[in-house]
């Protein structure tokens, strides 16, 4: 959106040292976000040591798990120069569908997860088909889908609430259980994250997603099956959101129709903070996951630091702005330094 006029001028013939510097610049995003995260955690920990006790670490990971998952799904779409604003609604619908499905039964977690994924995939399929085959702007379509899915969810729920008491214990255990002290949820998110990252890096279809986002026209001429890939990205994002919905049920036990209402902007900001360019083609799911972790950690840190709740929003907004500004400024500085260095 901001095609900056000041362009990165790296000399083609620049030698090895400059090249590794280039690498650093391009990886700076992940590094600076990780740095910010570490600083934040350290600072909070010094102020309140209980922040990092067993329960504290567990809470941090648990809080981030679902957002990380959604950010991973969203990045895959954003990388193709599209966006999926319907994720919040999909999580809501899937969580409610799963809740309705298990309530009063003893269905196991596997079945619930499958149902959630199926619901999410269905939603992703519709959005994806509209975007890829209808060739219509993703933002409008998925904003429309946000409303449509939400409406369906409300209409179906009719104000009903699924309570933890109705949910089978095996499902709830998925949300609260752990192995070796690490809760399942973050482990699941990490697994999805790692697999997605590897796929995006090492498979043709993964690289093609970046190609589409970087230049749709060039992708078309290179024979990339754009429609199929974009559709795939949406189905994946939908499936991940649906899966997140079933995990939501497992974690919180209580579901109503408007779970995750308004999360789309949080997810998008996690992705953007994590360095995935909103215009596509750039960024990694690792970055997006770090972005999500940073956002949830800011929230947790503020409440641990006893910040007046009236200040919480303002501070997290300011921190978000600071994070992306500092990152951008560092990046610009480094590019400029690089240009001047290569003068010699």
């Amino acid at each position: 959106m901001t095609a900056t006029i000041e362009k990165p001028t790296a000399q083609a013939e620049a030698g090895r040292s400059a090249r590794s510097l280039v690498d650093t610049v391009f990886r700076a995003r992940e590094i600076s976000i990780a740095g910010a995260l570490v600083l934040l955690v350290l600072f909070t920990w010094i102020a309140e040591p209980r922040f990092l006790n067993d329960q504290g670490v567990k809470d941090l990971l648990l809080n981030a798990a679902i957002l990380v998952l959604l950010a991973v799904g969203q990045s895959v779409v954003v990388v193709t120069r599209n966006i999926d604003l319907s994720v919040g609604s999909v999580v809501g619908l899937s969580a409610f569908a799963c809740g309705k499905f298990v309530s009063g039964t003893d269905h196991g977690p596997l079945l619930v997860a499958l149902l959630g994924i199926a619901v999410g995939m269905a939603c992703g399929l519709v959005s994806g088909a509209l975007v890829s085959f209808g060739k219509v702007p993703a933002l409008v379509v998925t904003l429309g889908m946000l409303y449509i899915i939400q409406g369906i969810d409300y209409w179906w729920a009719e104000g009903e609430q699924i309570n933890a008491a109705d949910v089978p214990q095996s499902v709830l255990d998925l949300g609260s259980g752990s192995v070796l002290g690490i809760p399942y949820l973050p482990l699941i998110s990490f697994a999805v994250l790692a697999v997605t990252a590897y796929f995006l890096r090492s498979y043709r279809s993964g690289r093609e997603l970046y190609a589409i986002g970087s230049s749709p026209e060039a992708a078309r001429l290179a024979g990339v099956p754009i429609r199929r890939r974009v559709l795939g990205a949406y189905v994946f994002s939908g499936a991940v959101a649906g899966f997140a919905g079933s995990l939501w049920l497992a974690r919180f036990g209580t579901v109503v129709a408007d779970n995750a209402h308004g999360w789309e902007l949080t997810v998008v900001s996690a992705v953007v903070v994590g360095g995935v360019a909103i215009v596509g083609g750039v960024g990694t799911v690792w970055g997006a996951a770090l972005g999500a972790l940073l956002l949830t950690t800011i929230g947790s840190a503020l409440s641990v630091l006893k910040v007046d709740s009236f200040w919480e929003d303002a501070i997290s907004g300011a921190l978000l702005l600071a994070a992306i500004s500092v990152d951008r400024i560092v990046n610009v500085r480094m590019t400029r330094a690089l240009r001047k260095r290569s003068a010699r």
Binding site: M1, T2, A3, T4, I5, L130, G134, K135, V136, P137, L139, V140, V141, L143, G144, M145, L146, Y147, I148, I149, Q150, G151, I152, D153, Y154, W155, G262, L265, V268, S269, V272, V273, A277, I278, V279, F310, W311, E312, D313, A314, I315, S316, G317, A318, L320, L321, I324, S325, R328, I329, V332
Partner: protein, 329 residues
């Protein structure tokens, strides 16, 4: 073919749809046509409509401001807090508008000087301004605004003999101004150029950054003013006023056929989009259509807004190709 294509442009279609919905309402729904109801229906969307105007210009220039509703909330909270601490209303309004300008400057500065994408920046300021609103006012709700001013904002006061309320009248005036700026001035041309191809606009000597900054400032200003209108209209200043309006504003603008990638759209379309959402909501509510169904209708309209023109052009292309394939004399 070209006049046909003109008639099938989406913004025209939204206009036609608006009239159709209106006429249907007159014919089928008791109480819809009453002056009270029309005045109310229009006034009910006054703030969203006001904010949609600068938003249209922003989106045409390829930018977006998601912080408008938060600015509305901050302005409302500030109005309440200052009023409560005994300030004169005549002093409060300029101060609040200045805060709107400052908020717009911050958005614009981060976008133009720091070089961040506007979507990211304004997601941040969305949280920041809303947060400041709750810092200012906490959980208080301030009421008792002066009747001398409040009466101009409510739907029971209309321009005599019409159903046009004063916020609506203001909207009409500003809409005309915005339409002229966008479609008939050099600035408007520049906005389209910036939205379509920023580099080319910059190389053509257009002051891209300055114009963007200006747009954000105007958006902040109008949002702050919308906050004052909102506060007076409901007679209640609270930190969460107008929460979630940003999506409504964006939805209206998009519904009017403004291309989110920038460089395309008409102000007429945006206005028609806003009014359509407002009228439709009123009509459906009057007919006891449940809220969830209204939500679905909004979504379907949005999808239709982009899908329909697409379908039309596909069909006409197809027909054209068939015509071209058969040898002509």
């Amino acid at each position: 073919m070209s006049p046909l294509r003109g008639a099938l442009r989406w913004d025209t279609a939204v206009g036609v749809l608006l009239v159709a919905v209106f006429v249907t309402g007159l014919g089928t729904t008791d109480g819809f046509a009453s002056r009270d109801n029309l005045a109310f229906a229009f006034n009910d969307i006054a703030e969203v409509a006001l904010m949609a105007l600068p938003m249209t210009l922003l989106v045409v220039a390829g930018q977006v401001d998601l912080s408008v509703a938060s600015m509305l909330g901050l302005s409302s909270a500030l109005t309440g807090q200052l009023w409560d601490s005994g300030w004169a209303f005549e002093t409060i309004v300029p101060v609040v508008l200045l805060v709107g300008v400052a908020g717009g400057l911050l958005n614009g500065w981060l976008v133009t000087k720091v070089g961040l994408p506007s979507l990211a920046v304004t997601i941040g300021t969305l949280a920041l301004y809303r947060g400041l609103a709750s810092v200012v006012l906490g959980s208080n709700a301030i009421t008792d605004f002066p009747e001398t001013y409040a009466k101009w904002a409510v739907d029971t006061t209309t321009i005599p003999g019409t159903f046009i309320t004063y916020p609506m009248a203001l909207f009409i005036v500003l809409a005309v101004v915005a339409a002229v700026v966008l479609h008939a001035t050099g600035l408007g041309r520049s906005l389209f150029a910036i939205g379509a191809q920023e580099d080319a606009a910059y190389f053509a000597g257009i002051r891209v950054k300055r114009i963007k900054l200006l747009l954000f400032v105007v958006t902040g200003l109008v949002s702050a003013f919308a906050g004052v209108v909102f506060t007076l209209r409901y007679g209640s200043a609270r930190a969460d006023n107008g929460q979630g309006f940003e999506m409504l504003v964006i939805a209206s603008v998009l519904l009017g056929g403004i291309d989110f990638d920038g460089g395309k759209g008409t102000l007429f379309g945006a206005v028609a989009g806003v009014l359509l959402i407002g009228i439709l909501k009123n009509l459906l509510t009057l007919n006891d259509v449940a809220n969830e169904v209204q939500v679905i209708v909004t979504g379907l309209l949005l999808v239709a807004s982009v899908l329909t023109p697409r379908l039309i052009s596909t069909v006409s292309e197809w027909r054209h190709r068939r015509a071209a394939a058969t040898p002509s004399g």
